[in-house]
């Protein structure tokens, strides 16, 4: 067990004693493939760390929008405030989890001991990693919208099929700021949504990448839901 835990991002850099102590604070749960961990709009007051297997995040229309691999966490915001889950989370395969709830987490962090400090630091790091992940996803979504590097020989933007496809007349950019240092590109508000959407779709088609509305759609599981509290699944 310990070698497997050492490999998880949540426990990286901790001593064996700290790993065992932290793991001892959490409940172990096991889900079968297709089991639902929490449903969209249902209250959640716990977080989970994937130890083995994977979780799928399913949006309301059934699209799997992310997969949570071993070492990653899910439900961390529920440790800080009441917010119903915005998505349905289910096991993509047989999955082992560590579960810890808000009451235990905050109580432990309030004790003022070393373990509580480590616990708080680990959760903060996982949240930072999740923010980075969302940031990276936004980068991918925005990539087709961004200005491209200029052609070094001519100083002009390279002509590409994407640029040609997006050659609809765009809104005229506002005059640049007075400093002259910033050559501001038109903001999203200054370019029509339809134009930007055309660029996204064209870029996706050219790259052979499925658009967001063509992501894998998974039919609702036929399996009965065994409970939203994974502690009942042990």
């Amino acid at each position: 067990m310990l070698p497997a835990l050492r490999e998880l991002a949540f426990f990286h850099g901790l001593t064996d004693g700290q790993i065992l102590a932290l793991a001892g604070l959490m409940r172990r749960c096991r889900l079968q493939a297709g089991d639902t961990l929490c449903r969209a709009d249902s209250p959640v007051a716990a977080a989970w760390i994937v130890v083995r297997g994977s979780l799928e995040i399913v949006a309301a229309r059934g699209a799997v929008i992310a997969t949570i691999p071993p070492g990653d966490a899910c439900g961390l915001p529920a440790l800080f405030f009441d917010a119903p889950s915005t998505v349905t989370v289910r096991a993509g395969e047989e999955t082992w989890l560590f579960e810890f709830d808000r009451a235990m987490f905050l109580a432990r962090c309030g004790v003022g001991d070393v373990l509580g400090a480590v616990f708080a630091e680990r959760v903060a790091r996982m949240l930072a990693a999740r923010l980075r992940s969302v940031d990276a996803t936004l980068d991918q979504l925005e990539a087709p919208l961004r200005p491209r590097a200029r052609d070094k020989t001519s100083g002009e933007m390279p002509a590409t099929p994407v640029a040609k496809a997006a050659a609809k007349p765009a809104a005229k950019p506002a005059s640049p700021p007075d400093s002259g240092f910033w050559k501001r590109k038109p903001t999203a508000a200054e370019v029509s949504d339809a134009d930007l959407q055309a660029r996204i779709d064209e870029a996706a088609r050219r790259a052979g990448i499925e658009g967001l509305d063509q992501v894998k759609v998974v039919q609702p599981s036929e399996k009965p839901i065994r409970g939203t509290n994974p502690s009942t699944l042990r």
Partner: protein, 174 residues
């Protein structure tokens, strides 16, 4: 502009005792910026936690063609750089003082000193920072879920733009 920064006004320090605040004021430091001056982009400040005391910061992203895109405008009480301070990975954005600006700054060495010498204060700071990151995460994730769930043909740009703002500006829309 006052030389003092009132840490109590920042949500990042909500619920902290006066002893905590005095400790944080001692461990962190104050930085003042002239209008238009770069607030963060260097290797050290890039991985520091900032709290705006007075003034405003404009956050830009540098594009491949050299142009700048305004991502957010942060006012007094706003904080940023929690993730960078925790994981040590520099942010890609660039912050510029919109006018005269004063910030409280906690860099990584100072944060390590805080953890070693004042672990309880450090834990309370981490919990508050986590709460802020969690709020941003929820709001940005909601927008991303909308983007993934939108009916075919529905524009995604406004959704993505709102998600981006959510990552930076927790005060917006409140």
């Amino acid at each position: 502009m006052s030389r003092e920064i009132d840490l109590r006004q920042a949500p990042l320090f909500a619920g902290m005792t006066s002893i905590d605040l005095a400790t944080l004021a001692r461990v962190g430091h104050r930085l003042a910026f002239l209008p238009g001056e770069t607030v963060f982009s260097g290797p050290i400040r890039d991985v520091s936690l900032f709290v705006v005391g007075s003034g405003e910061v404009d956050v830009f992203r540098r594009e491949a063609d050299g142009t700048m895109t305004l991502l957010a405008r942060l006012g007094p009480g706003s904080s940023f750089g929690e993730a960078a301070m925790l994981d040590g990975r520099p942010r890609h954005a660039i912050g510029l003082a919109r006018g005269a600006l004063a910030c409280w700054v906690l860099d990584r060495p100072a944060f390590e000193r805080l953890r070693q010498s004042y672990p309880d204060t450090a834990t309370r700071l981490l919990l508050n920072a986590s709460r802020q990151m969690a709020e941003r995460l929820v709001r940005a994730s909601e927008q991303l879920n909308l983007a993934a769930d939108r009916p075919s043909g529905t524009p995604v740009t406004a959704i993505v733009a709102e998600a981006r703002r959510s990552l930076w500006d927790r005060l917006r829309g409140r």
